[in-house]
């Protein structure tokens, strides 16, 4: 080849910039709206079409292996399945503790709400959830909510 000039072609980056700018704006707005309750990583919540937002309450987290109340593990699911009575001791103790240990504004709202939100994995058997719920009601937490993932409505089969 007589001409051996290396020719560098310039890439036209305007389209890339457009896409990145839009993406960045969208993602910034998305991550700016923080949720009251975080999606837990270890469990899969069931999906439902409800639309009520979660509130600032006491959080009971039921994984297939253990139960955690407000961040502190209190009982193992295997133990819960083994006990016969309807109320689970460690959970009741921890709930009582939560209503007594009021440090700041957030713990105050949580304790005064008298409500429990249960985040349970979808494969947890019903009797475990029922025992947790009855323990909560006997500790004075009159309202119970179940956390679910919001799904879009699906068409009926008929």
């Amino acid at each position: 080849m007589a001409r051996n000039r290396t020719k560098t072609t310039k890439m036209n980056l305007t389209a890339l910039m457009d896409v990145f700018t839009i993406l960045v704006f969208f993602l910034l707005v998305n991550s700016a709206t923080t949720e009251v309750l975080e999606t837990p990583k270890q469990i899969t919540l069931p999906a439902s079409v409800v639309e009520e937002k979660p509130r600032e309450t006491v959080v009971i987290f039921v994984s297939p292996t253990e139960v955690t109340v407000q961040g502190q593990p209190v009982a193992l699911v295997a133990d819960i399945l083994a006990t016969e009575n309807q109320n689970i001791g460690p959970i009741a103790d921890r709930l009582a503790e939560v209503s007594k240990n009021i440090i700041g504004l957030r713990t105050l709202t949580v304790a005064e709400s008298k409500e429990v939100t249960i985040l349970a994995d979808r494969s947890v058997p019903f009797n475990v959830v029922k025992k947790v719920m009855s323990t909560a009601t006997s500790e004075g937490y009159g309202r119970i909510s179940l956390a679910v993932l919001q799904k879009a409505s699906d068409k009926p089969r008929s």
Binding site: E35, S145, R157
Partner: protein, 164 residues
């Protein structure tokens, strides 16, 4: 005016914005935000529970729909007698059939809102949520001239219990 012609030089000289620094920012920001983005939202199902310290409630003889979820299938009762049994289809609960029957029951009792879902102990929690969904509201596909799906509230006051 003396000058009647444009200065072509001015129009042909374009300043190119140097994109490299902007690109640097984007290339770092977009993957980071994508990784930390949360696209699933958590919502809650509120339950109506009798308070444990409350006095014993007088059971009113009103209509109360109950869905009993057993490992063999579903049963629909009206508080005292079984209305229908819905067997499982392909090892799954037949929620479509349940939805139809609940819709019909609601048409017959438009003012009643109470419902109970009773489960056997070993049933998975996920099935509870699905059955509650079916009982609480239903969807009707829109009529031919409208594309929207209308959502109908059926029995909104759902409580949970053990199957007898």
């Amino acid at each position: 005016m003396a000058r009647g012609h444009h200065y072509r030089r001015r129009t042909s000289e374009q300043t190119d914005l140097d994109m490299t620094s902007f690109l640097n920012l984007m290339v770092v920001l977009v993957p980071f935000l994508l990784i930390t983005a949360v696209f699933s939202r958590i919502t809650i199902v509120e339950l109506s529970l009798p308070s444990s310290a409350g006095s014993a409630e007088i059971t009113e003889p009103s209509f109360r729909i109950e869905v009993i979820v057993r490992s063999t299938g579903l049963e629909l009762t009206d508080g005292s007698s079984v209305i229908s049994r819905i067997p499982m289809v392909d090892d799954e609960y037949d929620l479509g059939m349940l939805a139809e029957q609940v819709l019909e029951l609601k048409r017959g009792h438009p003012d009643d809102d109470d419902a109970s879902v009773l489960l056997e102990p070993q049933i998975e929690y996920d099935h509870l949520i699905q059955v509650m969904d079916v009982v609480r509201s239903a969807e009707l596909p829109g009529t031919d001239d409208q594309e929207e799906i209308t959502r109908l509230a059926l029995f909104t006051d759902v409580s949970i219990g053990d199957a007898p």
